[in-house]
Symmetry: C2
Subunit: 339 residues, 2 copies
Amino acid sequence: MKALMISAVVATAVMDASLIDEAKNAGLKPIPANKKAVEKLTSNPKNPTTAAKVELGKMLYFEPRLSKSGLVSCNTCHNLATGGVDGMAAAIGHKWKANPHHLSSPTVYNAVFYSQQFWDGRSPHLEDQAQGPMQAAPEMAAPKDHVANVVNSMPAYVNTFKKAYGNDVKITFEKIADTIAVFERTLITPSRYDDFLNGNKKALTAAEQKGLKTFIDKGCTTCHNDIALGGTMQAFGVTGQYKHMNVGDFKGDANGLVRVPTLRNVTETAPYFHNGQIATLSEAIKEMGRIQLGVDLSDKETAEIETFLKALEGKKPTIIYPMLPASTATTPKVDVIND
Amino acid sequence: MKALMISAVVATAVMDASLIDEAKNAGLKPIPANKKAVEKLTSNPKNPTTAAKVELGKMLYFEPRLSKSGLVSCNTCHNLATGGVDGMAAAIGHKWKANPHHLSSPTVYNAVFYSQQFWDGRSPHLEDQAQGPMQAAPEMAAPKDHVANVVNSMPAYVNTFKKAYGNDVKITFEKIADTIAVFERTLITPSRYDDFLNGNKKALTAAEQKGLKTFIDKGCTTCHNDIALGGTMQAFGVTGQYKHMNVGDFKGDANGLVRVPTLRNVTETAPYFHNGQIATLSEAIKEMGRIQLGVDLSDKETAEIETFLKALEGKKPTIIYPMLPASTATTPKVDVIND
């Protein structure tokens, strides 16, 4: 019995070592353990991350007055308390309008690792992405000059921009979006999975490692790879049609490709898929097997993969809730019901 | 010249000392400097404040899933980032409905010091008050059992309740409201004004002290007194009719009395009055003089009082944004557009 246990331990250790290699060969990459490496990876050279910009970006991320109504902030749909999403099948924004394409809000956590933003991948990075929802009629519904006027109307904001960018800063809509993006670039969630890929073989349990192996062996890493386990554009419905394709009119980009969502913190981002029609993770896994890989995953395989996916739940950054400046006489006013 | 300066300093010192007495005689009270005294003052003996309850109460305060839609939290209307209010003339809640009586959201900061809650004072304390907006159709619109079911559906919440109240805890709607109230009881904002009343004569500038004197001399402390500089029920429109009485149908309680709002952080809680029809603090001060005291305050007197009121801006507690548990298969689902 003792001999059996020892050989089992040895076998596990051997499996661990080769599993890390296998995962890397399949295109999976960890969030680096080294802080400097993370900073380099997440900072935009054209808009480098600084503490002052991050703090200001956080204020703007939580700022409802950037919206036309004064009620909707980035955090309304990408709520940092609930996995970076709103839990809605279709996002709800200005005047309680649902997204016209029945698209759900993707999580903002780890979005910095995506190579394309939005479900149709139309945006190359967060600086560009952040401009979209502020203006979109069913989201924050704010014209560019409204956003800039709101911020410029409050001296405390103007001073904070000066501290972040220098006294000559022009606070434009684009500068505001850039600053929000700098904050979003810090929203990464390292997990035990990263510890494992970074070499700590004990960071994942045997069951989680088994799940990772199944995840790789079944071919999930074809799309869910790199640091985000997602983030690139891929064909959708390769081997079968998505059960709920009839909900909403979304058909992907011009080539029918869809941005692959991250699997990090996927336990917190239900309901699943672009139109939020799948309630549970196990159903999502099976549907993916069917329509992307052409396999009917067994309950056992599905459970194995789910066990692995749960290990992708990461440590969220500590966010001190920002205190925002008071509106002034020049802060734009709107009729929230009629405008 | 030197002699003149010295005597001016002596005169100021004398004015300071007597002004503190004068303020106290007029019914003004500071937030105590002593931490234990504050805890005693803000804790409910029937529901004593503990760190575990405060942390849990904070989660629930920011929890949108307590609402019928899953989109509206306590913090939506009483936003801790913006002075504990939403900046709206009339609160906007479930399905973007405005408050049917055109009532604005009062600030939650320092509400613990009120002797009555709600504009009509119908609630004696925060534990009772917190039950109202969760159920109100134009606010969070959630039946009691929905609220309790949501919390009970998430093991992480159940465990946190057990930690806070013991293993036998029953997580009812009332217990949830009680816990939110415990968090709200910590939302106090000591200011330089408190330092002054607590004996530090230099804590307010000469201009702020002058403003405090005018505030007392004109009779503002008749209603705006005690720790909150407000919080009791008073007649509204004693010496004149409110300019905007025609907006909304609110007429106070059964006796026509209205709960006096706190003046702490009043620079952050525009627009003013129960129906949010007054945009600026100076206009609010003048209107109060006219309809409550029967005096036409001069621009100089108004500016003096405004200078004092600005000194009531307090230090907000540091709030780490809570990370909330993931929904489970049993968490109630709603059709956010149609339900």
